[in-house]
Amino acid sequence: MAAFYIQQLITSFIASAAFGMMFNAPKKALLQCGFAGMVGWLLYIMLQDMMVQPVTATVVAAFCVTMISHFFAKKYKTPIIVFSVSGIIPLVPGGVAYNALRHVAQNQFDQAVQLGAQAFMISGAIALGLLLSEVINQVIRKWSISRSISR
């Protein structure tokens, strides 16, 4: 079991950093890209092993990736998009969409529609994770501004 998680950690780090490079991320940001992707994917995998629904797992993972990216963005004074993109990529429902397509190609439209709806739900879950993190971040920002004014 530990070996499985170590494999997942290493491969998700490499994949996220490689995606950062494919998007021309600055060299100094690559390690952080890999880290954000690694944490998000590890959470996703662990939640899946705990029999949590894929949609819920995706919300949590996308939320964490964006929170970590916000932290890095503030720390290194770099646009948040540099860190968040490569972390979100592994969560994109490629497998489900592929299965939906395979059923389309075999003329089994009832199953294709089911899987397509699932892929759509997972994309919505990524959106929800991003949204929640954005909201929390704005609340924190407002709170810290009002606190510094009242001092």
Binding site: I14, M21, P26, A29, I81, A97, Y98, R102
Partner: protein, 251 residues
Amino acid sequence: MNDLLKREHDIIKVCLLAGKIMLQSGAETYRVEDTMMRIAAAYGVENSHSYMTPTGIIFSVEEPQHITRLIRISDRTTNLYKIDQVNSVSRRVSIGELTIEEARTALEKIEHEPAIYPTWLLILLSAVASGCFLIMFRGIWPDFIPAAIAGGLGFSCFVFMHRVIPVRFFAEFSGALLIGIASVWMVRYGFGHQLDMIIISSVMPLVPGLLITNAIRDLMAGHLISGLSKGAEAFVTSFAIGAGIAFTLSF
């Protein structure tokens, strides 16, 4: 008065150049608008308005004279490095470190800067990423190399076709088609084992991840037209990939 007008024109040019570079590199709409208005404000133009869609920017300044300019964006790629560079220029402008002329030369230098990683490295990276995705999706280690080969082939086909024929849809379609054909062949001749896994992981480098996240962020920030059109672009890309794969699977 003439000097003031010339200064206003120069400010607008700098703002538009910054906006153009950011939009072409794939920044979120709200960040582009924010950057342009910050630069304008740093040079003393308080009332500026900008409106943008993924295909163009309209920028307007009210004082001392009303001037509106339009710039057309035809080609969009993903270049996070340039977004970061323009961001730091705008930061330096707003603390008063750069004059208008200096900011313009800095931005022009960023615009013509070549890609930081060479193409062969990108192809190699896409191969490695495909292999890693195979393991992440609970595939088996013997399939690592077949997935890497299929992913590398598909991505290089995409890059090559995009250079020859400037139609993105076709480039993505042919990349996915090559991935499908290569995977089916490798599985048929016993080199690969799980066809589904190999195809899913080697398609990942073509997936429009940046577009999807940007579309969501734009929609949330209230930039409805940009959000919808970026979503449409992401949908077209996914459709191209799907069509390429479905085409191979139907045989």
